[in-house]
């Protein structure tokens, strides 16, 4: 099975690049290949001007990696975690001491530097993991789901930190399945699904696409009937059952034209509609349009394949 197939992207120096895709799309595999942790079966890549196959050490000394799971040494102190990584990167002693001190302060870990990392909260552990990837001042930083599983405040702090780092010149390659993170942070974005790139461009260009369609969400106890009826309706472009609560998500060109027809059809069937939400499409909706799958965890109950009009038959 191919986890990542013919992924072809280019990230410019100093860019904050987003890499989005549903779970299992091949994001982590791609990052692991770029960091020299996994050998691609064919093809290669260049990171910071160096080929990942020919000069893995040059690549490794110029990049930092923060994986999805904070892989810090929980049984070591925060300070030693940083020191050890600096040693592994052969940062000279004096610079090492200085760098460790600065990072501990910058990431708000200075007062707990002698505590074991296992005693840290998730947010602190993640901050330590990011700091560990920065001990050697990498040119490019790979962040894999870096705010995953964190509370709102911690995630916000980390996003601010990422913006800072990028402003100071670090190229950032970020994977996430939080669309708002992409909107807030990224200059450009690539969408990966089933191991292939389905879209790549600036966030603005993507956002422009959202103006092209609307979303109607219907809450109903009579899902079966309504689903069948909506799928047969010619004004709906895509119909999904989002979860067991009975919310039906409908993609339409124009809500004003489609909504009366939908309600009319529902009334004719005798299907009860408890609530209706009409909204403009978001980046998340673009994502569903492109991949046929939602990015967000909480949407994983969506019955993929329930759509009728798939308008991207190129997969």
């Amino acid at each position: 099975m191919l986890a990542a197939d013919r992924v072809n992207i280019e990230v410019d120096e100093g860019e904050l690049f987003g890499f989005v895709g549903p779970n299992g799309a091949g994001k982590t595999t791609t990052i692991r290949m770029l960091c020299g942790l996994l050998r691609p079966t064919s093809g290669t890549a260049r990171v910071a001007q160096f080929d990942i196959l020919e000069d893995p050490d040059q690549v490794k000394s110029r990049m930092g990696l923060v994986p999805e799971v904070s892989n810090i040494y929980a049984d070591l102190t925060a300070r030693y975690n940083l020191e050890f990584m600096a040693k592994m990167h052969r940062v000279p002693r004096e610079l090492r001491m200085r760098k460790v001190r600065t990072l501990l302060e910058e990431f708000g870990l200075a007062d707990r530097q002698s505590a074991l990392a296992s005693t840290f909260s998730k947010g602190m552990q993640r901050r330590l993991a990011i700091a560990s990837a920065l001990v050697h001042d990498p040119q490019i930083l790979f962040l894999d789901e870096v705010t995953g599983g964190l509370d709102v405040q911690s995630a916000r702090n980390i996003r601010a930190k990422i913006k800072d780092l990028n402003r100071q010149g670090t190229t950032v390659f970020l994977t996430t399945h939080r669309m708002h993170e992409i909107e807030e942070l990224c200059d450009r974005v690539a969408i990966i699904d089933h191991g292939t790139i389905v879209a790549c461009g600036t966030v603005d260009a993507l956002r422009h696409q959202t103006e092209q369609f609307d979303i109607i969400e219907l809450s109903t106890p009579d899902q079966e009937q309504l689903l069948r009826c909506l799928r047969e309706c010619d004004l709906t472009k895509r119909v999904d059952l989002i979860n067991d609560d009975g919310v039906i998500r409908v993609e339409v060109d124009e809500a004003e034209r489609a909504l009366p027809r939908i309600m009319e059809a529902a009334a004719k069937l005798g299907a009860r509609v408890k609530s209706v939400i009409v909204r403009e499409a978001s980046l998340e909706d673009i994502f569903i349009k492109l991949t046929g799958r939602p990015v967000r965890e909480e949407w994983k109950d969506v019955q993929v394949g329930s759509s009728t009009h798939r308008d991207h038959g190129d997969r």
Binding site: L37, L38, D57, A74, F84, S132
Partner: protein, 374 residues
């Protein structure tokens, strides 16, 4: 250029080892130390009381007859016809002792010059008995047998009881703790180091191995660092066990330098085995299980608690394949007999251990290297 490369690789290995030490002694150092040392100390306690021996057969015995009288030849006949013994004649005490040292005899019986004279004068006649106590487990049984046989023979020779003056070849005596200490030291080193090497599996699962791999440090340095740490931790544990054995249980400890070198080899071998296991198995619980499957037969078959000679014939060839067998044999020779590298028996064992060390290390790092650099 190359020497600089080697230097940076070695430096990285030392740093990895330092990290291993911090992990070992950090966190809950007291709990970890107690856990790793509890079993060996408990074993020492249990075995400091002697357990029942086995009934040996065809025990090789050297006999020196300095008396050359009809009395002494009668005694010889009794001993020779007793099929529990295989009697060899020696010309002098020195020759008999050499036979014991070479492991050709388990005991020597000396009939002194005045043996017949004393019997004829109705005075107390006595024999001298020298026991090979490098294996106290065995020595006690041999002593009981000889005692029994000589007593029977003497009853026919003299109305007066004949006494046997007992002396021990190595001054260890019947203390079982002396016998068990080398085994427990080797066993502790084995358990300590395999456990340490298995931390690779955890590191793979937790992703911390990826963390090191995302730096320019090579696989060789990572493996070497683990081995340095594993070996030193194994030696440290062995030293603690030795200290306790000597000062608390009164065990004989000789040639500490040679002993530590052998323990180092044991640590090295079992780090290699641990590394091999962690390269083949990538799930911690499975790795632990495989490890148990290797370590326990090793403990039971290589003579930690009883001499390998006491094993059934079918199992002895297996024992002779296990590195721990050679380690324990060498340690006993060093600690109890006070032998050093000058002795061929130590030299052979150490040679075998060196071969094992080279083989396990080569295999382990080769397999792991493949994983680390893929």
């Amino acid at each position: 250029m190359t020497s600089l490369r080697v230097k940076t690789a070695l430096q990285a290995a030392v740093w990895v080892a330092e990290k291993e030490f911090r992990q070992f002694f950090g966190g809950l150092p007291a709990a970890r130390l107690i856990v790793t040392l509890l079993v060996p100390l408990l074993l020492l306690m249990v075995f400091s009381f002697r357990v029942g021996g086995v009934a040996p057969q065809h025990v090789p015995i050297a006999v020196v007859d300095l008396d050359r009288s009809s009395y002494s030849s009668d005694l010889m006949t009794v001993l020779t016809t007793d099929d529990r013994f295989v009697i060899t004649r020696a010309l002098s005490r020195a020759e008999a002792e050499n036979m014991i040292r070479r492991g050709e005899s388990s005991a020597a019986i000396l009939v002194p010059q005045d043996f017949s004279k004393n019997i004829e004068r109705h005075q107390q006649a006595s024999l001298e008995l020298v026991l090979d106590d490098s294996n106290p487990f065995f020595a006690k049984s041999v002593y009981d047998l000889i005692d029994d046989s000589v007593r029977t023979a003497a009853n026919n020779l003299s109305p007066q009881p004949i006494t046997a003056k007992l002396s021990f070849m190595y001054g260890v005596g019947f203390g079982f703790v002396d016998f068990i200490v080398p085994g427990i030291v080797a066993m502790t080193a084995m358990f300590g180091t395999t456990f340490q090497a298995l931390s690779f599996v955890w590191e793979r699962t937790l992703g911390t191995l990826d963390r090191i791999r995302s730096t320019p440090v090579g696989a060789g340095s990572i493996i070497l660092g683990k081995i340095i740490a594993g070996s030193l931790i194994g030696i440290a544990q062995a030293i603690v066990v030795l200290t306790f054995s000597h000062f608390v249980f009164g065990a004989v400890v000789r040639n500490v330098g040679v002993l530590i070198l052998i323990v180092f080899l044991v640590a090295f071998i079992f780090t290699g085995i641990g590394v091999t296991v962690s390269a083949l198995v990538d799930e911690p619980r499975a790795a632990m299980m495989v490890n148990q499957m290797i370590n326990w037969p090793m403990v039971l078959l290589s003579g930690v608690f009883y001499p390998v000679e006491a094993l059934p014939d079918a199992l002895r060839p297996i024992a002779s394949l296990l590195p721990l067998t050679y380690a324990i044999e060498a340690l006993r020779a060093v600690v109890i007999k006070g032998l050093s590298f000058g002795a061929s028996e130590v030299l052979i064992d150490v040679g075998v251990l060196l071969l094992y060390a080279a083989a396990t290390l080569a295999l382990g790092s080769r397999l792991l290297f493949r994983i680390l650099s893929r």
